[in-house]
């Protein structure tokens, strides 16, 4: 019955988020951290972190290593707090390191974006996703970025079924030894020019798995990374804004 379908569509209404660059996330999201200059026992603070993301003298948090568990903020609320700013993506590794009194949005370094990325991928970007030891949480959020609410495909950004159709690869997970060969094959099969995007803490630094002898992260030593999207997992809005900033928005 067509009437049932119309009723469902009426009840569902408009679901999409009109502006993904300004949307607010509900609740107590743990996004970009703020670090005050308050004096705390820095050694104690550092030892709280399960993934050694906290540096000392002065205190800093490396979002490429952070699992966003929030334990540091819970134990040292006068020193660290997490804001609801979900825009964590950048193209320079050291821009993910947040230091004391640093309350600036995380941005890309537009000077180092390759010319062809904006020229060729500015209005259409097709990506191949590779999970290499990912726990299915970042994969899940990449899928959610394509649902009717976040609706990433409205920007021409889509995931494709073959590297031959792709403009780049998106890697999740800490990159296991058992996936090392497959990831290389997939990259080689993707036509030039191509980009590499790392999604999630596990992909960026290994996260809680860093140092495991079951990993082989040598792929990342061989090729430059075009975009890092931190998070555990990365929020869909984090993913979409990162990809948009890399490929199109004019901020020169």
């Amino acid at each position: 019955m067509i009437l049932d379908n119309l009723k469902i569509m009426y009840h569902q209404g408009k679901q999409f988020i009109p502006d993904v660059t300004t949307a607010q996330v509900p609740g107590i999201f743990r996004g970009r951290p703020l670090i005050t200059v308050a004096k705390v026992d820095e050694m104690a603070l550092q030892s709280v972190c399960p993934t050694n993301a906290i540096g000392v003298a002065p205190v800093s948090v490396d979002l490429g290593k952070c699992t966003f568990c929030g334990e540091c903020a819970a134990r040292f609320p006068e020193k660290i707090s997490f804001t609801k700013d979900y825009k964590l993506a950048t193209n320079e590794r050291n821009r993910m390191i947040i230091s004391e009194n640093d309350n600036h949005p995380i941005e890309l370094n537009y000077d180092i974006i390759r010319q062809e990325i904006r020229g060729i991928f500015g209005r259409s970007l097709k990506l191949r996703q590779i999970s290499a030891g990912g726990d299915n949480s970042c994969e899940w959020e990449l899928g959610a970025a394509n649902n009717v609410q976040f609706d990433m495909s409205r920007f021409g950004i889509e995931f494709v079924a073959s590297p031959r159709h792709a403009d780049g690869i998106v890697i999740t997970g800490p990159i296991t030894k058992n996936m090392a060969a497959a990831i290389q094959l997939c990259y080689d099969a993707t036509p030039d020019p191509k980009i590499i995007v790392l999604v999630g803490t596990d992909a960026i630094s290994g996260g809680i798995f860093a140092g495991s002898s079951a990993l082989d992260r040598s792929f990342l030593d061989r090729y430059p990374v075009d975009l890092y999207i931190p998070g555990n997992p990365a929020h869909p809005l984090d993913i979409i804004n990162g990809l948009l900033d890399l490929t199109r928005r004019k901020k020169f």
Partner: protein
């Protein structure tokens, strides 16, 4: 009687587990299982003791709520008879023991690698040269898929042997996701690191695995979780079930090209995961469950908010489900597709939804309940046909049941209590086991401590460990074009299997 009976979440001294030689260990465990469909093997693993390997077998009785634990010491120089020869449900466990320690089984029917762990016994076996089964024939052809798949999912290799469009045989090769988690549990010494590992075992079952770890650890430390902590865990497990089942209904609609169902179920998942974020700051509940305390206590205002969300969610879910389940174009793809018989499901030891779809009553919430499940008196939802439709129907009904449970739980919400943070150290030379019914099925974590009370061995078993074989059996004689819907109707974990 060379075994000890314990309950779920109980810790015992390692020396209290009766040890026998392999012959009587073999006979005894088979005898425990033979003719008892209410019993199943929840874990069977080994760990190194000097040059020998100590085997520990855990068989659960679903009626008496007991778990029978027995052990034996074997030397890898001596080959063993395999229990799989008698009962297939041991096959994966024995393959794992063989792969990890090189113990030769003389008569195992399918002694192939499980996941190529980096500390395996035979490093000359690599994931690139997996010994696939093949059939010499002019008529048959093989189809290889993966490890990287066509969508946004985890890696695994599927090798089909087909007769035209029809699948004769499917072999599933896993291990690509192996991150060495069990070894990391030993290497990482901080409790928070281990809790973080537990929630990263499978990112779609964060609550399930982190609850299992929390329970094992608290049991080892003889720590009684407070009412509020138990409440949070039960509630979070049911919310995780609703979120993932709803997402799976969306994916099933996608695979049969039903666009409206795909879009609506897909978006209905969002209010539930967004609620998890309102509660704990993470859409997938990472950071929510910790041993010894609740980082994010469940407050009355959250309860009010959750009821508001469910009041909107439920009629929309019902409306979409009623429509989906009345469409002949959808049902014709679900019904009689990907059938697993009750006998096969029992023989290979499937758990969770993959068992309940064939009328096999396996549900830890009913058989080995903990926390608030003790007072919910859970009645598992069973279906009889073992096809895609049964698996999809179970999801629909379990979503409804979980909503009901959450309403019941919220009506009897305990007061927030003072949180005890101080832990004793774990009991030394001890063994502990925890069973949790995640949305996929039974999760089992076992821990063994050394003389100082630190972890000596940690064993994780995700429900997918058993259920991958059920998927392989389900696609036989189906058209290869129905593989995606069969796969999605099981929705098994690669990361949880590969560890």
């Amino acid at each position: 009687m060379n075994y000890i009976n314990i309950k779920n979440n109980q810790t015992i001294a390692l020396s209290a587990i009766p040890e026998s030689n392999y012959e009587s260990f073999f006979d005894q465990n088979l005898d425990l299982m033979r003719g008892h469909t209410e019993r199943h093997c929840v874990n069977y693993f080994g760990y190194k003791v000097g040059n020998n390997v100590k085997l520990i077998c855990c068989i659960a009785d679903d009626l008496t709520h007991e778990i029978f634990i027995s052990t034996c010491l074997v030397n890898k120089a001596h080959s063993l008879e395999s229990m799989s020869r008698e009962m297939l449900c041991f096959e994966k466990f024995e393959r794992e023991i063989h792969e990890n320690f090189g113990i030769p089984y003389v008569d195992h029917p399918w002694l192939k690698p499980v996941r190529y762990p980096e500390n395996r016994d035979d490093l000359s076996q690599t994931i690139e040269n997996y010994p696939f089964y093949s059939i010499e024939s002019e008529e048959l052809h093989e189809v290889g898929v993966g490890p990287i798949h066509a969508g946004i999912i985890e890696p695994g290799h599927f090798r089909f042997i087909c007769n035209g469009e029809q699948i004769l045989h499917l072999e599933i090769q896993l291990g690509y996701q192996h991150r060495g988690i069990e070894q990391l549990f030993i290497d990482k010494k901080q409790l928070l690191q281990r809790a973080t590992l537990a929630e990263n075992i499978a990112g779609d079952t964060v609550v399930g695995h982190s609850t299992a770890f929390a329970q094992v650890w608290e049991s080892l430390c003889h720590f009684e979780p407070t009412q509020a902590m138990q409440f949070s865990r039960t509630l979070a497990l049911e919310l995780e079930r609703i979120a993932i089942h709803t997402g799976d209904l969306s994916a099933a609609c996608t695979d049969v090209a039903y666009q409206l169902g795909s879009a609506v179920f897909g978006r209905l998942r969002t209010p539930i995961v967004n609620f998890m974020q309102e509660w704990g700051g993470n859409r997938l509940s990472k950071g929510l469950i910790r041993p010894g305390y609740s980082p994010f206590p469940f407050t009355p205002s959250l309860a009010k908010r959750l009821i508001e969300i469910l009041d909107i969610f439920e009629p929309e879910f019902d409306e979409m489900a009623n429509k989906t389940f009345s469409l002949s174009s959808v049902l014709s793809r679900f019904e009689r597709t990907g059938v697993v018989s009750n006998t096969d499901a029992l023989n290979i030891g499937t758990v969770g939804m993959a068992a309940r779809m064939t009328n096999l009553n396996r549900d830890i919430r009913a058989s080995h309940p903990t926390d608030y499940y003790l007072q919910l008196h859970h009645q598992p939802i069973l279906k009889r046909h073992g096809d895609v439709y049964s698996r999809i129907q179970i999801r629909r009904l379990e979503v409804k049941q979980s909503i009901q449970y959450i309403r019941t739980l919220l009506a009897g919400m305990p007061n927030l209590d003072v949180q005890p943070k101080e832990f004793k150290i774990p009991q030394s030379n001890a063994f502990s086991i925890s069973l949790v019914e995640g949305w996929r099925g039974e999760i089992c974590h076992c821990a063994i401590t050394d003389p100082t009370g630190d972890l000596l061995h940690y064993k994780i078993k995700d429900p997918s460990f058993h259920n991958w074989l059920a998927l392989a059996l389900s696609v036989r004689n189906n058209e290869i074009s129905d593989f995606p819907i069969c796969n999605k109707s099981f929705n098994l974990s690669y990361a949880g299997h590969d560890l």
